[in-house]
Symmetry: C2
Subunit: 348 residues, 2 copies
């Protein structure tokens, strides 16, 4: 990816993120009971790249084949077959689902921090965090009913959202289960990643296509794009933990190894006969030193596991971009291709 297209993709994401950020308080005002809605808004207001809603907007733009200026485009009344659709509502819907899963996941993992601020159950309390997540959950469905798309398209989009949410729960359940299991195969891991992470990217690409009236072939291909880039995104996350210097990463490099988290890299290494559990002996992120992490990463590199993960991610990105060929050849499609590349070239 050239520096030029890196700059282009960042501009594309920033401009659309702004639009999503403006839409969030419009769609989710702090109503009564205030504490509930403040908690529901807390993580949404704390930031985030908004990659999924950006995918929603770009897919709609590409299908409409308009060269939209993201700063001024009328996303609230966007061209669709036989009418117009509020694609910004659909974008907020997937971001709100993402936020709900983060709130509930942080409870399950007992994580204290998220996006640089306390997790919702820490900032508020357990009950408020459960309820804030539950409220976002139903709101996401409300938004999707209200886009103004034709009823049968709305139904299809709602089915996609509902099955996606079920799959995310299944993926999170598998992830928790894996923590207490030694022998997880790489394909089991990839299935978990598909369910826990990739399906929401798939929904983000498929739902706008459903709403504006794309045919089934286009919807399926876009769904495939989301699955591919979503899986690559998670693998890149796992790689970054090992290969990015701590100061750039914003946390201790190699913390997944210290915490014994299963990733595609460690699972591959285990399959190559590496004693993964003994790679890092220090068992706290605070106490581990760079030399120990460096030695562990060297062992993983020698086992071919870093290369295996990189190649897997690259193959997925290639397949994802291939799936975009159902879209007209335009600016928005080019940005969706760039996002795919960006996901595995990003360094944080």
């Amino acid at each position: 990816m050239s520096r030029q297209s890196q700059a282009a993709v960042e501009r594309a994401i920033v401009a659309r993120r702004e639009r999503v950020n403006q839409a969030v308080p419009e769609e989710l005002p702090v109503d009564e009971p205030e504490r509930l809605y403040e908690a529901a808004r807390y993580l949404l207001d704390a930031g985030g790249k908004r990659l999924r809603p950006t995918v929603v907007l770009l897919v709609a733009e590409s299908l409409a084949d308009v060269d939209a200026d993201p700063e001024t485009a009328d996303y609230r009344s966007f061209p669709a077959e036989g009418g117009s659709v509020d694609v910004l509502k659909a974008a907020v819907s997937v971001e709100v689902i993402q936020s709900f899963t983060l709130i509930h996941d942080d409870i399950m993992d007992d994580d204290d921090l998220r996006r640089g601020v306390p997790s919702v159950h820490r900032e508020y309390d357990l009950s408020t965090a459960i309820l804030a997540g539950d409220t976002l959950y139903s709101k996401a469905f409300q938004y999707l009913v209200e886009t103004g798309a034709a009823p049968e398209r709305t139904n299809a989009a709602l089915m996609e959202l509902a099955t996606t949410c079920t799959q995310i729960c299944e993926g999170q359940s598998l992830d928790i289960d894996f923590e207490s299991r030694d022998a997880v195969a790489t394909d089991e891991y990839l299935e978990m990643v598909e369910l826990k992470t990739a399906v929401l990217y798939a929904a983000s690409a498929a739902i706008p296509a459903m709403l504006v009236g794309a045919d089934d072939e286009a919807v399926d291909s876009l769904h495939g794009y989301g699955l591919d880039v979503g899986r690559a995104f998670q693998i890149q996350d796992d790689l970054l933990d090992l290969t990015t210097p701590s100061e750039k990463l914003g946390k201790q490099r190699g913390s997944d190894l210290v915490e014994g988290k299963q990733t595609l890299i460690t699972l591959h290494a285990r399959e190559q006969g590496v004693d993964v559990d003994d790679l890092v002996e220090t068992d706290s992120v605070e106490a581990v030193d760079e030399a120990e992490i460096e030695a562990a990463v060297d062992r993983l590199r020698e086992a071919g596991s870093i290369r295996y993960a990189r190649e897997t991610a690259r193959d997925l990105i290639a397949s994802g971009k291939d799936n975009l060929r159902v879209l007209p050849d335009n600016e928005a499609r080019a940005r969706l291709e760039d996002i795919a590349d960006y996901l595995i070239e990003r360094e944080y």
Copy 2:
């Protein structure tokens, strides 16, 4: 309510409950990951009166104006305007939402028991309980997309379900908030009950009407029926805690008083100047004796609070039955009237 119609309503409920109980494993098989789906099924399999799904089926029956035998009726392909609708899926949908709210509420209230068995977070663990609730949540939306109703009717029903879920979260949030407040007005309490409890009865009556193609007036009236009987149901629960002998109640009579729970009765008494906090001095359900409870209930009776609650519930039931006049005059409507009466005449 005559003994004869009491028997009729019980037969009506039992026969339809059986059909719902058969449909639950069909709609929600124990898929992979097994532990997740077992937890999701746990409370559903533990029992329950199935009043809400029974309302779903009866409303559909009354609108179709067929004298259905509940044991053999083809609820999967039930007559609707211009086609047929799987009203059993809609019935399971509302029961599944009810089950999701129970699982998450039990976590928030840290309740150990539900329907005579351990609560899901006790039988399994916190993470599994959160996820089981989240899974039921999305499944309920899936079922409602799949009833086969016309797309615009399905959209309306999905909007009703989504707004209902949002309101249930708001109601639960208010309920938690009230625990730490002394001065709750009776109308604030009734609003909380409406949100936390009554809206799901309202959805149970409105959704089948939407799906089969009833007009807006009928849908609104049926929604009103649900709100009325749902509020009366909660008030009756509060009354039973005070007036039913412990052995019949299955738990210590007056336990709401011991635990300082706000109810319509205590809020009314407080408004009459009764020092509700001092009514029962013993602060554990295990240690309290009948005489102390009896004295407290006498004080509430003298303040007119028991009568006030009974009259409020009766007025609601009368209004609820009045709302049923939009339905054809048939057997199913008579059973919906009976259910309204039953809700305030039941003794457990």
